[in-house]
């Protein structure tokens, strides 16, 4: 099969390297020797999927166990899909070029709502029935990742979902699957799912019944069986420092989005931005020790040959040992041509100093995310940063030699007025002015890119109750800003409003949306997050055919009392806290970061037996 595909098909597709699967550090196991086989599926192209740290973690974790085997598959680009269909070749994994249907478990990672049609397409390309109910045979189809915390639009297509950190849970799932396998390699689905549903963190959607109210909202979600828990709790790795980390990751041949070594310095963020799902669903903060990271870096350098180490997390400048760690990494590796990068910067001078220490970041430009233009709006979203902070940071940046500054904002935030919008433009112009002054002596010219996305309300955040601005309103706001941000040195970028709208529909939607996904996929939707493929007309027809009003999900405010599609999934932060935070947003009141201060009562630590775990103080002691 491998030879056939490489000789007959790959010469005819764009970027054949996407499908080679022969990367350095690839794990190829004997199929017969593995008790349980799993395919890890990323519903987007290779370049995006391979940049995802979670893939490398699970790939290493599972393959480290002799009785398990994990191979990879990515969404084939449209030209490859055409070839597969023409040659009648089922979608295959990269390691052994085996059809997905041959595996015991097929796991999709759910990173982004707009990749959902790709999932259906991949199942179809593999010849696997789309719906769990129609699958008597074939792999157990599972999903994980952030969108698994509201997977309801996907519910009929999946057998189960893994909520939260998957490290421990996935191995458990594979062990249980192994026990359920018969001599012929098959299993009794119902029995297997029954046992899985008892594992903390595993959600079997088929075991829950929904009742709806006449107005279309949910009346209740009830377990269909007695032993199934009424609410499923997310899993959390308590001690990240001791958690598995892959120091022999796959090294791709082709250029991917993040083509570098990744060091995960911490998980979670407690700054508490009220729109940010990651900030709510990855709590609490769990750091790795500096020495652990240094050791991992050393192995990564030896095993990959990459030229850059990136310190990843939601907000790396917040890592309590970031300065000593960066310094040490630079000392050790800079002479060997290895650079250190901080992908996420805070809006303050400390971050700029840190970035300035790492000389080579300079070329690429710096990005800051004030998110909102006015102080009032920043208070609403709980972005604890002032205009002074931002202006101080950009001054430092220009002084240190950067000329390209990117500013990220969101529009359509709750309670946004024209003044708040105008403040975005004002702020950008102030940054431009500072740039002109600071760069005058150096004969440089500042380039400010203002990148504006549309607010998408997400589940498990304080803003889950907020409706999104209707598309026309978002467009009008984009137009307004575009008018304000014309001129030399300013560049304005915005996101397609209809795409943000669909994102909101599926982020806040429930099970009734499943037929819409299926319709949209059938009419040809795939790679929806790619401009060249996004076709809203098809989506519109899909909604109409399923008799679904998308605005009911995207634009309607949700009542505090309403049963939301994800309320039976416990991400850790309590609904009471989300409501309280939502109310505080309306009062423009700030909530501090519990990492350095007292608990603000999101309730996860007590209920989940976890805590913020920082190592910075220990280092300062010795």
């Amino acid at each position: 099969m491998r030879q056939y595909i490489q000789e007959k098909i790959l010469p005819h597709v764009l970027k054949p390297t996407r499908y080679l699967g022969n990367e350095w550090n690839v794990v190829k196991k004997e199929w017969e020797e593995a008790k349980v086989t799993m395919a890890f599926a990323f519903p987007d192209v290779y370049e995006i999927g391979m940049s995802h740290l979670g893939l490398h973690i699970l790939y290493g974790l599972v393959n480290n166990r002799s009785e398990f085997l994990m191979e990879r598959v990515f969404a084939p680009w449209v030209d490859m899909e055409e070839q597969l269909r023409r040659h009648k070749i089922p979608l295959f994994t990269l390691e052994s070029y085996r059809a997905l249907g041959d595996f015991h478990v097929l796991g999709f990672t759910l990173q982004y709502e707009m990749s959902y049609t790709n999932i259906l397409n991949m199942l179809d390309l593999a010849g696997i029935p789309l719906k769990s109910a129609d699958r008597q045979e074939g792999p157990l189809v599972i999903g994980g990742g952030p969108c698994a915390l509201n997977p309801e639009p996907l519910a009929p297509f999946f057998d189960c979902f893994l909520l939260g950190d998957s490290e421990e849970m996935l191995l458990q799932l594979l062990e249980i699957t192994a026990r359920h396998l018969n001599e012929d390699g098959k299993f009794d689905r119902e029995a297997l799912l029954g046992e899985l549903s008892l594992v903390s963190g595993i959600y079997v959607p088929g075991f829950y019944q929904l009742r709806y109210k006449p107005d279309g909202t949910i009346g209740s979600v009830d377990p269909a069986k007695e032993e199934v828990p009424p609410r499923v709790q997310r899993r959390i790795v308590q001690n990240l420092d001791e958690a598995y980390f892959p120091t022999k990751p796959l090294v791709p041949y082709m250029e991917i989005v993040h083509d570098r070594m990744m060091l995960e310095v911490m998980r979670g963020c407690t700054r508490g931005c009220r729109f940010c799902q990651a900030g709510m669903v990855y709590r609490p903060v769990r750091e790795r020790k500096k020495d652990t990271l240094l050791k991992q870096a050393e192995e990564l350098v030896q095993n990959t040959g990459h030229e850059e180490i990136s310190l990843t997390s939601l907000s790396t400048a917040d890592y309590s040992c970031v300065q000593p760690l960066t310094k040490e990494l630079l000392n050790r590796y800079q002479d060997g041509g290895i650079n250190v990068a901080l992908p996420s910067l805070r809006v303050d001078a400390f971050s700029v100093d840190l970035a300035a220490e790492i000389q080579r970041v300079r070329k690429s430009g710096l990005t800051f995310a004030p998110e909102a233009g006015s102080q009032r709006m920043r208070n609403v979203i709980n972005k604890n940063v002032t205009e002074e902070d931002l202006l101080g940071a950009v001054t430092a940046a220009f002084r240190a030699g950067w000329t390209n500054i990117k500013l990220y904002f969101m529009l359509g935030l709750p309670g946004e007025t024209n003044d708040d919008l105008a403040a975005i433009a004002d702020l950008a112009k102030k940054v431009l002015d500072i740039g002109r002054q600071e760069l005058m002596a150096q004969r440089g010219r500042p380039n400010i890119t203002v990148s504006v996305s549309s607010f998408v309300p997400k589940g498990h955040t304080p803003f889950q109750f907020e409706g999104q601005n209707p598309v026309e309103e978002l467009r009008a706001k984009q137009q307004f800003l575009r008018g304000q941000l014309k001129g030399r040195g300013l560049k304005f970028k915005w996101h397609e409003a209809k795409l943000s709208f669909l994102e909101a529909v599926f982020a806040r939607g429930g099970r009734k949306l499943a037929p819409v996904l299926e319709n949209a996929w059938k009419s040809g939707c795939r790679f929806d997050s790619w401009d060249e493929h996004f076709d809203y007309a098809k989506w519109q027809t899909a909604f109409e055919n399923a008799a679904i009003d998308p605005e009911f999900y995207a634009n309607r405010p949700f009542d505090y009392q309403e049963v939301l599609p994800w309320d039976h999934l416990d991400a850790g932060v309590s609904k009471a806290y989300l409501i309280r935070e939502h109310k505080r947003a309306m009062e423009e009141a700030l909530t501090h970061d519990c990492r350095w201060d007292e608990c603000t009562g999101c309730s996860i630590c007590d209920r989940f037996q976890v805590e913020n775990r920082l190592w910075g103080d220990e280092i300062n002691v010795d």
């Binding site: 490489q6 000789e7 054949p16 390297t17 250029e255 040959g305 990459h306 060997g336 300079r362 070329k363």
Partner: protein, 228 residues
């Protein structure tokens, strides 16, 4: 010290672009912990130079690269260290220390030899006839698409040899063409011409580069021979 290497690139890595290949070698060198010399400046990069790019999808028995090291090291040591880090599809064939400064590979290499296997119903004599006719022409115009639009180019002066032979694996054309900074003729261009202008059905062409040469004064020398 400056090292010149001869290496082969085969399946499955024949699909790697030139850029992918360069990146891959940088990573191999780093993993092998060779003391790479870096350029000065803002964005230091290792000093590695490659022979002219190979068409994507073509295999090669003889690619070359020059790499500068900061320290002295024996060829055997370099080879042992690198062999541990080579992915399937890459093979280092020879290593030679080069006295500096040497002319850049890209500047001195001017001839490439390819063998092309393909399937056809024609006999060897018939294909030979086509090739002969092709060589008789004074102009072979191909269209090159670039950002500025379509450009016409005469590739005939860059074709030096075209021989065919029926073999068990299919029809085989052996060709020598110009390559390098003064002009580049790609085997696919010749095949396309045979397909389109001569109506020669060619399917499943498999291209292998079998030689890269420095041609001067009527002599073909390999990049390793010129520094001997």
């Amino acid at each position: 010290m400056l090292i010149r290497m001869e290496f082969a690139k085969g399946a499955p890595l024949k699909f790697l672009s030139h850029l992918d290949l360069m990146r891959t070698f940088q990573r191999i060198f780093r993993r092998a912990a060779l003391p790479l010399a870096y350029s000065q400046g803002f964005n230091p990069h290792p000093k590695i130079a490659f022979s002219p790019a190979l068409p994507v999808g073509a295999a090669s028995q003889c690619e070359y690269l020059d790499v500068e090291l900061d320290a002295q090291m024996s060829g055997d040591e370099i080879l042992t260290r690198m062999n541990r880090q080579l992915p399937e599809g890459l093979e280092i064939k020879k290593i030679k220390e080069v006295s500096q400064p040497a002319d850049a590979l890209n500047a001195i290499i001017n001839r490439a030899e390819y063998t092309v296997y393909f399937q056809t119903k024609l006999s060897e004599a018939e294909v030979a006839q086509y090739l002969e006719e092709l060589l008789k022409r004074e102009e072979i115009i191909i269209e090159k698409r670039s950002k500025k639009g379509i450009k016409k180019k005469n590739i005939r002066p860059g074709i030096y040899k075209l021989n065919c032979q029926q073999e068990t694996a299919g029809m085989c054309i052996d060709m020598v063409v110009q390559t390098g900074s003064d002009g580049n003729v790609r085997p696919e261009q010749i095949l396309d011409f045979l397909r389109n202008e001569c109506n020669l059905a060619i399917t499943e062409a498999r291209i292998t580069r079998t030689g890269l040469y420095v041609y001067a004064d009527g002599h073909y020398k390999t990049p390793l021979e010129v520094v001997a």
